[in-house]
Structure formats: structure tokens, C-alpha cells
């Protein structure tokens, strides 16, 4: 039956992530942003606590955990600094096509060395986010095209994810630095592929869909962390800041905005956890993951800008972090095809009736 507790094991991991994020990332928020990278000491500490291998199979030296663990950990990291969270994780969401479509050999050969390298980054780009000559699914031995933005200043491995295949590229990738709108702690570049040789190619629609779903959980959970922090920070500010003789939080217009921001955050979390749980328990969950990402983005449209709004003029200034969260909450919702692709996937599943078994394990959506 329903159980909303993560359980002791996961709680312990979350606690580890939370204290690391609070102690190492939050205090360096602006430093990491302006340096476009994470401090070497912080990176070393991150390696020590082992969160980078969270979803790697145990055979490959990882913890063998799934999307739910990822969602819980990412919320904590994202609440501190989503850009740093991206920078710290050498494999990031690029791991998913390797796990869902690739074989153990390629994982060992391509991915694991990045865990040992200093500040390495594997990047995942999906079809909707790139301008390619041809499509990923039909690509030949070489691939040409561009990606307007990737949150990184380097690319040690590029995984391009299509609807039914994934392509791995390592050489022929050029990055042009950008100023970037958000997530600058991870870097910001335009990525160009010029006849880049395809190193590996895997096909399989179900695997590609699962990889996409896991990437959406990854992205949505970082976003959720940002939203939680923005909502909570502005709530606390509203209790301190006085206007017209009382805390601004006690003006009902603000009080109701604060409650609605909390509803948005908590709601997005519930869909996220349900989707992640479903993916982990191998009962489908692709559409649920799409919906969870859509919901997190939906929530970000309310929470991101209103985090700034509640702080008024102060919110607009960089002395406070809410402006950063507003930028980053938007940036996190743009990848993987963004809201439109997520809604399209979830909507098609609903309308095609494919949802009936996975979207709802009971009666929901059942034909009458």
C-alpha cells in the first residue's frame, strides 16, 4: 500500500547529501558561479562521499541505486546549487543511455574512467535540443550539428539521445564559451560537432524511452531543489520584512502566494517520487516521468519569479540568491525538450490509452 517514507537507507543518503550541500555548496554559491567551476577541495569531498556512483551498477563499483535515490539526492544538491551539482557529477544524465541501451563493456571503457579524471564531464543532449544534420536515429558514422547551450565548459563524452537510439561521440566536439543564463557553476557553452566520429551506437526504443525518463527525473529533481529553496527562503524573508506595520507575510495577498508556492513545490515532489518509484520498480513510468518533469517546470513558473517578487527590490539585486534561483529554475526546465516535449509524451500516453496500466495502477483513467 501507499508509503510516503523513503526508508532508513535512503534517509541516510539524503542526510549525507544535505549536509554536504549545506556545508560545501551553499556558502560558495556566488564563488562557484563566477568561477564557472567548483572548488577543487569541494570536488574532492564530493568524491569521498560517493554520491557520483549512486546509480552505477554495483559490479561497476557503484551503489546500484535507482531514480528514487537520485531524485532525493538531487533535491538536496539542487537546493544548495544546481549548477554545482551538475559540475560535480562527471557522468550526470549521460549515464542513462549507457545503462539502458549500452553494454557493460562500453560502460567500463567509456564512463568509468571519467570518474577518476579531474572535473571530467559527460554530457547528454537530446534530439529536441540540438540542430543536427539528419537525426540521431538515422545518423551515419559521423555527425554534424550544434547545440545552442550546454551547462559545461568541457565535454569528455557526449551522448546524443534520440527516440530510438543513442549515439556516443568523444572526438570532434568543440565548445564555444557562453555567458550563460544560469547554472554557470557548471559552465556554459555552445557545442559544435563537425563530422564528429560516432564511437558507439545503440538502438532500442524502450531503452531510449527509459533513458529519457531517467534523465527527466534527474533534471526535475534538481529543479525541485531550487524551487524548494526559493519558496522557503522567500517565506522566511516575508516573516522578517515589515511593511505597513506588520510582516509582509501577514498581508493575505502574500500569505496566499506563499501557500500556493508551497503547494506547487510539494505537489511537484509527489509526482516526482511516484514516477521515480515506478521507474525503479520496472512497471513502466516513462509517461509518469514526463508528467513529473512537466509539473516541476509548471511549478517553476510560479515559484521562480515569485521568489524574487516577495523580496521586492532586494530580490532583483544579486546580494540575495533568489534572482539566481529564478534564472536557474528556468534554465533547468529548458533541457530535454523542455515542457513541450514532456507534455507531448505524457499527453500522447494518456490519449493513446497506454497509461492505463502504468499511469494509474488502479481505476484512474480506466475505461468505463
Amino acid at each position: 500500500m501507499f508509503d510516503f517514507d523513503a526508508g532508513d537507507d535512503l534517509d541516510l543518503i539524503v542526510e549525507t547529501a544535505r549536509s554536504f550541500a549545506g556545508e560545501e555548496l551553499s556558502p560558495r554559491l556566488r564563488d562557484h558561479e563566477s568561477a564557472r567551476s567548483v572548488d577543487a577541495g569541494v570536488r574532492a569531498k564530493f568524491s569521498e562521499i560517493g554520491l557520483a556512483g549512486l546509480e552505477l551498477p554495483e559490479a561497476a563499483g557503484g551503489a546500484g541505486l535507482g531514480s528514487l535515490a537520485r531524485a532525493l539526492v538531487n533535491e538536496e544538491l539542487g537546493a544548495a546549487d544546481a549548477g554545482a551539482a551538475l559540475a560535480l557529477d562527471p557522468l550526470g544524465a549521460a549515464l542513462y543511455p549507457l545503462l539502458e541501451l549500452g553494454d557493460e563493456g562500453t560502460l567500463r571503457e567509456l564512463a568509468l574512467p571519467l570518474l577518476e579524471a579531474d572535473a571530467a564531464r559527460a554530457l547528454l543532449v537530446c534530439e529536441d535540443d540540438a540542430a543536427l544534420v539528419g537525426s540521431i536515429d538515422s545518423a551515419g558514422d559521423r555527425i554534424t550539428g550544434s547545440v545552442p547551450w550546454v551547462p559545461s565548459d568541457r565535454c569528455d563524452l557526449l551522448v546524443l539521445l534520440g527516440r530510438e537510439s543513442a549515439v556516443v561521440v568523444r572526438e570532434g566536439v568543440r565548445l564555444e564559451p557562453l555567458h550563460g543564463s544560469g547554472l554557470r557553476a557548471a559552465g556554459a557553452s555552445e557545442l559544435r560537432l563537425d563530422e564528429a566520429p560516432v564511437l558507439a551506437r545503440w538502438r532500442g526504443r524502450p531503452g531510449a524511452a527509459r533513458a529519457m525518463a531517467r534523465a527527466r527525473i534527474h533534471q526535475a529533481s534538481l529543479l525541485l531543489g531550487v524551487l524548494r529553496q526559493a519558496a522557503d527562503f522567500s517565506r522566511q524573508y516575508a516573516l522578517e520584512r515589515q511593511a505597513f506595520g506588520k510582516p509582509i507575510a501577514h498581508h493575505q495577498a502574500l500569505a496566499f502566494l506563499i501557500t500556493d508556492m508551497r503547494i506547487a513545490v510539494d505537489g511537484a515532489r509527489l509526482l516526482l517520487h511516484e514516477a521515480a518509484w515506478r521507474l525503479d520498480t520496472a512497471e513502466g513510468g516513462e509517461a509518469a516521468a514526463a508528467a513529473a518533469y512537466a509539473e516541476a517546470i509548471d511549478a517553476s513558473l510560479l515559484v521562480g519569479p515569485n521568489g524574487v517578487q516577495i523580496l521586492g527590490g532586494h530580490g532583483f539585486m544579486q546580494d540575495y540568491p533568489v534572482e539566481k534561483w529564478m534564472r536557474e529554475s528556468r534554465a533547468l526546465g529548458l533541457a530535454l525538450g523542455g515542457l513541450d516535449a514532456a507534455r507531448e509524451d505524457a499527453g500522447r500516453a494518456l490519449c493513446d490509452g497506454a497509461e492505463k496500466s502504468s499511469f494509474a495502477t488502479f481505476s484512474f483513467g480506466e475505461a468505463v
Binding site: 500500500m1 501507499f2 508509503d3 510516503f4 517514507d5 523513503a6 526508508g7 528514487l68 517565506r235 516575508a238 516573516l239 510582516p247 507575510a249 501577514h250 493575505q252 500569505a255 496566499f256 506563499i258 501557500t259 500556493d260 508551497r262 503547494i263 510539494d266 505537489g267 511537484a268 509527489l270 509526482l271 517520487h273 511516484e274 518509484w277 515506478r278 508528467a291 512537466a294 509539473e295 507534455r343 507531448e344 505524457a346 499527453g347 500522447r348 494518456l350 490519449c351 497509461e355 499511469f359 494509474a360 495502477t361 488502479f362 481505476s363 484512474f364 483513467g365 480506466e366 475505461a367 468505463v368
Partner: protein, 393 residues
């Protein structure tokens, strides 16, 4: 974590679904068409009683009813899932069900043994459909329950009640009404008392069954209390109880199981509208349109989210953990997304919805009440704000 129901619950829901499909939905449509509550002597109610429904979950003086009566062992989560499924078929018919209904919980938690015997034993093996109801709302106070004006004045060995109640579900057909009154309107909740008022008590009268926009299957009734005298034994829990607890309901402050039920009802109604809308859109070749798919997707997503919120509030209640924030959140959100789902359904129907004879049109009217009863959406936000930012009362 787990987001799954077990086989026992699945079977239980299958029963609710089948009865909903064959009984509740047709009854609800009939009542809506005729514009009146299901009559007291309707064979439907008789069938329910014969089937063993409409009973109390009070174990009875000897505890025997534990086996034969309504089960009180159900978790809140299970109750919410059932409430959602029933509302999917017809929420109004759900409220119309005979039995000790809303006040039962108060009687079980606060009533004396003598009161349980006197007021609940008739629901152990009811000879016919019987109802009881809870009289709180008044013409001048709905969500602000602390402001009730109905007074209770001590008079010898009894109490004299004066005031007016409105929108009370099932009042004219109830065997007894648990009337909420105040010893002193200026003193708020601590002066509140609840009294059993038997049907037929002199001074209880003026019943008026209201005409409603929706949910017509059950009666929402206004009545008055004019020098209505009840004996001391009819004060719920007895006076001694109030000396210790400083008023009514103070024991229930940390968790709330009522609001998630309304939230579950709203999700059920919204789900029904979504399914109808999907079916209509499918029949009319509309599902290929992106705009249509987008809106259906959003509605399904929000309904699912509201369901999870509601179940989380219930799960917290089951674990005896504070859930006031979650209960209010689920209620505020579910009522809203339920309304949006029915409204979207109307939109997809287009002028078909304006004819007034489509199920979605009924659901559109029915669901509105979910944002009003048990505290409006605005009041839920006030409650949330008290928790989140200590909004002053």
C-alpha cells in the same frame, strides 16, 4: 516508498466501482433530472439496508458488532481511496447513504457509553434506513465555525436551544441531529457544546429542503430551534468532559481526516469528467489535436497530483503524525483541479455541454461544492498560512 494498492484494496474498489456503475450513477442522474433528493422510502435505500449497509461502526454494548457491523479497522488511506471511487460515480448519492454519518465519529470519540447506547444502537441492525446528521453551519457562518450564534441556555435539568441552522445534510430525515451551539457567542470555541436533538422535539422545526445547483441526491436542509428543550443527558460527552478539554474538538487539532475526504471526492469527480472528456474527444476525432491533448494531459497530471496529496495527508493521519498543512493543501488543490477538469470537459463538449443533459455538465455543477464544504479554498489557505507564516487569527 510505495505507490501501489494491494489486492484486497483492489477488490474492495472493484465492488465500489460495480455498485457505483449500476446503482449510484443512475440514482444520481435521476435525482439530478428530477431536481429532488432521493426519497426516504426509495427502494435503493432499502436494498442498502438489506445488504447490511447504513450501520454503525460502534462495537455495541457487548462488542459483538465488531464482527457484523461497519468496519472501523479501515485506514484513512483506504477510506480515501473508497471515497474517491464512490465520488467518481456519484458524490451526491454517497452523501445520501443512510447511517449515523458525519456525527458518528464525534459520538464515538466524545460520547458517553449511555449516549452511544441511546443514539447508535438503532444503527446496529437497523430495521429500516435511518440517518443522523451534524448541525454546524448557520446562515451567517460557514467556514468560520467559531462564530456560531445558536445558543444553549441551562434551564433546570436540561438545556434550551435557540437559533437557526442551514445546509445540513439529511436534517429532515435524521433520527437525531447533533446540534452545535454556544453557551456564549462572545467566547469562541471554548463555549461550544454539541447536543443530541431528537427528531420531533418541540421547538425543532421549520425544515426547508434547499434547491441546489448540484449534488441533488441528498437533502441540504435548513431548520430552526425555538426554545427547543433537551435533557442534560443529551449534551455530548456530559458537562464534566468540557471542564477538562476546554471546548469542542480541541482533541482534533493536530490532524484532520475530514478535509482529505472532500479532496478525494473532488479527485473522483474530476476523474469522472476527465474520462468522459477523453471518451468524447476520442469519439469526435479530437485527440490528434495538440491543444486538446495538452489540456487533457495537464488535467490528468493535476488530478493525479491532487490524489497523491490527499493520500499523503491520509497516510500521515494513519501514522498519527500532524497533517494539518497537508490536509488543507490537498483540499485546496483537489477542489481546484476537480473544477478545472469538469470545466475542461465542458469546453471539449462545446455546445453539447450547454444542452444541460451531459454527465460532464452535472459534474461541473456538482464539484463546485468541494471548494466550499469543510472550509473553502480560501480558508484552507488561511489555515496553511497559519502554519507556514504564523498568520495571526
Amino acid at each position: 516508498m510505495e505507490f501501489e494498492i494491494d489486492d484486497a484494496m483492489r477488490e474492495r474498489l472493484a465492488v465500489v466501482r460495480e455498485r457505483g456503475r449500476t446503482e449510484a450513477r443512475p440514482k444520481g442522474l435521476e435525482a439530478d433530472r428530477l431536481g429532488r433528493p432521493i426519497p426516504v422510502d426509495d427502494p435503493y435505500f432499502k436494498t442498502l439496508i438489506e445488504r447490511g449497509e447504513g450501520r454503525t461502526r460502534w462495537p455495541g454494548p457487548d462488542g459483538k458488532n465488531r464482527e457484523t457491523g461497519a468496519k472501523s479497522t479501515r485506514t484513512t488511506v483506504m477510506a480515501l481511496l473508497s471515497a474517491e471511487e464512490f465520488a467518481y460515480w456519484d458524490r451526491g448519492v454517497g452523501v445520501a447513504q443512510p447511517g449515523p454519518g458525519l456525527p458518528e465519529g464525534n459520538v464515538l470519540s466524545m460520547g458517553t457509553d449511555e449516549q452511544k447506547e441511546r443514539f447508535l444502537s438503532r444503527f446496529l441492525e437497523p430495521d429500516r434506513p435511518r440517518w443522523a446528521c451534524f448541525g454546524m453551519t448557520e446562515p451567517s457562518c460557514g467556514s468560520d465555525a467559531a462564530a456560531i450564534q445558536t445558543t444553549a441556555r441551562k434551564d433546570g435539568d436540561g438545556w434550551v436551544l435557540n437559533g437557526a441552522k442551514c445546509f445540513i445534510g439529511g436534517a429532515s430525515r435524521a433520527d437525531w441531529i447533533l446540534v452545535q451551539a454556544t453557551l456564549d457567542p462572545s467566547k469562541g470555541r471554548e463555549a461550544h457544546r454539541a447536543f443530541f436533538v431528537d427528531q420531533g422535539t418541540p421547538g425543532l422545526g421549520g425544515f426547508k429542503i434547499e434547491k441546489k445547483m448540484g449534488l441533488k441526491a441528498y437533502e441540504s436542509t435548513s431548520f430552526s430551534l425555538q426554545d427547543c428543550r433537551v435533557p442534560d443527558e443529551n449534551l455530548l460527552g456530559g458537562e464534566a468532559r468540557y471542564q477538562q478539554t476546554a471546548g469542542f474538538k480541541t482533541a482534533m487539532r493536530t490532524f484532520n481526516a475530514g478535509r482529505p475526504v472532500i479532496a478525494a471526492n473532488a479527485v473522483g469527480i474530476g476523474r469522472a469528467a476527465l474520462d468522459e472528456a477523453l471518451a468524447f474527444a476520442g469519439d469526435h476525432d479530437m485527440l490528434g489535436r495538440e491543444r486538446v491533448r495538452d489540456r487533457l494531459e495537464r488535467s490528468a497530471r493535476k488530478l493525479k497530483l491532487a490524489r497523491l496529496m490527499c493520500l499523503k495527508a491520509g497516510w500521515l493521519a494513519d501514522a498519527q503524525k500532524p497533517n494539518i498543512l497537508e490536509a488543507s493543501m490537498s483540499k485546496a488543490l483537489a477542489a481546484q483541479v476537480g473544477q478545472e477538469a469538469t470545466s475542461l470537459g465542458m469546453e471539449l463538449l462545446g455546445t453539447v455541454g450547454a444542452r444541460g443533459d451531459h454527465l460532464i455538465e452535472k459534474l461541473y455543477r456538482d464539484v463546485k461544492a468541494m471548494d466550499i464544504v469543510e472550509g473553502t479554498g480560501q480558508i484552507q489557505r488561511v489555515i496553511m498560512a497559519r502554519h507556514l507564516v504564523q498568520l495571526p487569527r
